[in-house]
């Protein structure tokens, strides 16, 4: 077999645990990305779309009232301001352009919070591609506005009834669609998970978050942040924020997972924090919630985007190698941070990054300069949050 050139393994993690039927498609994808990555025309087109269509660079915002509350300077990287309202648009635009380049007219995507589904549906509308989005029935319920958006954009949303009817099942169904329709379809996986080369491609497409933020904070503060904090579902916004800082040894990297009802309750979405044996889910080896027999456990989180029992393989390796630290924040804490951010800053964050904000606000640290990735806005969560807050 040909030598892989994108990262397939991160320490022991990653790999390609997929049916043989998909292996040629993964090789084709890898070759296509290796050539697109260094193709000036492709990069110019992607750059143009990210700038003029999506709105990059996003601002780096000094959140003064959050800073006062935390007792240290906090900057927010405003991914909530980008087109479609979350970081997921970078990956969707990049991979949809790649699908066009590969001559694949049909896009498959899965979605939990609906943000990746909306981003994929948006990119497909723009580039005139067919779009099929798999979404668990429970997520369709709690993220209804995003379902309406996807349909308005011309995508077909397929309700997934299996299991806990959330993100895990949606990814499984998307992969089954891809196995069946691999000749004319490209699967745009929504996070830094899945078989190689997906984690590397998603990282390449999301690293603009950290690349921009690093330059912006240097310009503003004349120094690097002491901590970079991001929420981790599958880990795409976090790997995007972390990558450029990995070589900056003094910058602490902190990934915030969903503690759900509490790690000790067993009802959470924090495989990196909770530890345990690595396992295979959705084509790669990584930290995983599972039982002794290797049956995958159901995750739980108030935020659909963090409600996933797996994790990106590079995060598992950043954890084991000691370069990044992973912690978890509960549903109730995230809800409180959601409200607090709205009231202190006039910014309604998505529930996912509200986990990261809670951590920065409430867990003591010697840091005096934090950079938080505000990965998306909270419009999609309003109805669910107001219901939970009893309003």
């Amino acid at each position: 077999m040909s030598e892989p050139k994108l990262d397939h393994r991160f320490g022991p993690y990653g790999g390609q645990y997929v049916p043989e039927t998909l292996m040629p498609a993964l090789a084709e994808l890898e070759a296509a990305w290796l050539s697109a990555r260094v193709d000036d025309d492709f990069q110019a087109e992607l750059g143009r779309l990210l700038r003029d269509y999506a709105g990059r660079p996003t601002p780096l915002y000094l959140a003064e009232r959050l800073s006062a509350a935390a007792g240290r300077t906090i900057y927010l990287k405003r991914e909530d301001l980008i087109h479609t309202g979350a970081h997921t648009i970078h990956n969707a635009l990049g991979q949809a352009l790649l699908a066009v380049r590969m001559g694949k007219p049909r896009i498959i995507a899965e979605t939990g919070a609906g943000q990746h589904g909306v981003a994929s549906a948006t990119a497909c509308a723009l580039l005139d591609l067919e779009c099929v989005v798999y979404m668990g029935v429970e997520d369709i319920r709690r993220q209804a506005p995003n379902v309406q958006r996807m349909e308005l954009l011309g995508a077909t949303v397929v309700a997934v009834e299996a299991g806990a009817r959330t993100l895990k099942e949606a990814v499984s169904e998307a992969i089954r669609d891809w196995v069946t329709n691999v000749a004319d379809s490209h699967y745009i996986i929504g996070s830094a998970v899945g078989p190689a080369p997906y984690p590397a491609i998603v990282r390449d497409l999301q690293r603009c978050i950290g690349d921009e933020a690093r330059a912006q904070i240097l310009e503003r503060e004349g120094r690097l942040p002491q901590r970079v904090i991001a929420c981790v579902g599958g880990g795409s916004n976090a790997i995007g924020a972390f990558t450029v800082f990995v070589g900056d040894e003094d910058v602490e990297l902190i990934g915030v997972e969903a503690a759900g009802e509490g790690i000790e309750s067993g009802r959470h979405g924090a495989p990196l924090t909770a530890g345990g044996r690595p396992g295979v889910l959705h084509g790669s080896l990584s930290a995983l919630l599972q039982d002794d027999e290797g049956q995958i456990a159901e995750a739980h989180s108030i935020s659909a985007g963090l409600d996933y029992p797996g994790s990106g393989p590079e995060h598992a390796w950043l954890r084991d190698s000691g370069r990044a630290t992973y912690v978890a924040v509960t549903d109730d804490e995230a809800l409180a941070a959601f409200e607090r951010t709205a009231q202190l800053e006039g910014i309604i964050p998505a529930l996912e990054p509200a986990h990261a904000i809670h951590y920065a606000l409430h867990v003591p640290s010697n840091s005096d300069l934090d950079l938080i990735c505000l990965s998306g806005r909270g419009d999609k969560d309003l109805a669910e949050v107001l219901k939970l807050l009893g309003r």
Binding site: T21, V179, V182, V280, Q290
Partner: protein
């Protein structure tokens, strides 16, 4: 006799007829009944049995086998219980265990394979372990005398088929169509995939995925398959019939008849 030898014998004692390999979901609808269905496969004329270990998230399976797996787990199926079924059935026919990679990792690869050998299992198929990820498992299998059976797909390149065809033991599991397991009505052109695969391996070629009627089984054999694997059609029978064992036996007899 090693697993590979036992499988080879099952394929070669056939006087030119294709071998019949029905799939059994271990523990579905419960452990005892699944053993009964396995015995019905034996009585109905099966030559080998493919025994599935249920997993929560089976990526290569369509709705029928997925829901049978979930039901088996809900009814308390475990790897040890499924290996108990293997132990009983392996006294009659060669057993090929079909198991996803996470169940193997959970037990630890060497220990898992040793337990297979101990239960009399002849071969192992792992649908989410392509060639690149297989070395540890195939090495363990070789040491324990269990055949590590490779999978070929219609999408495999010639280069991959050559490597898979050279590495496989016992037989080559050939996926008839791009897709998951599940019944398919169309009469696919099995000849093309069988012809491609055959030119890359000296092992017997068994065709599976989508073969759901005796006519399709006979078409697969006619197209040159050395073995035919029947999955979802039988699992659906086990799910729907009032008397799963009797119904599955009758169905296996029909498939066996079609291959005569």
């Amino acid at each position: 006799m090693s697993g590979a030898e036992r499988i080879a014998a099952a394929f070669s004692d056939r006087h030119g007829r294709a071998a019949l390999m029905p799939y059994l979901m271990g523990g579905f609808p419960d452990i005892k009944t699944s053993l009964g269905i396995g015995n019905a496969y034996v009585d109905g004329g099966a030559d080998l049995i493919e025994l599935g270990v249920p997993l929560s998230d089976p990526l290569a399976d369509g709705p029928v086998i997925q829901s049978a797996g979930s039901a088996a787990l809900a009814a308390g199926a475990t790897l040890d219980l499924v290996l108990g079924v293997a132990r009983e059935l392996s006294s009659c026919l060669p057993i090929i265990l079909m198991c996803y990679s996470n169940a193997i990792l959970a037990r630890g690869t060497d220990r898992f394979v040793d337990e297979l050998a101990d239960a009399g299992v002849s071969g192992l198929i792992v649908p989410d372990l392509p060639l690149e990820e297989a070395p540890a498992t195939s090495t363990s299998c070789a040491a324990a005398g269990v055949a590590f059976v490779g999978l070929a797909a219609p999408t495999s390149t010639d280069q991959r088929l050559a490597a898979i065809g050279a590495a496989t033991q016992g037989f080559l599991y050939t996926v008839a169509v791009a897709g998951t397991t599940g019944e398919r009505g169309d009469d696919s052109d099995y000849g093309e995939v069988i012809g491609r695969v055959r030119s890359h391996t000296s092992a017997p070629v068994a065709l599976g995925f989508g073969i759901s009627t005796p006519e399709q089984a006979s078409a697969a054999a006619g197209a040159g398959a050395d073995g035919v694997i029947i999955g979802s059609r039988l699992v659906r029978e086990a799910a729907e019939a009032d008397q799963p064992s009797a119904a599955c036996k009758a169905l296996v007899e029909q498939f066996a008849q079609a291959l005569r």
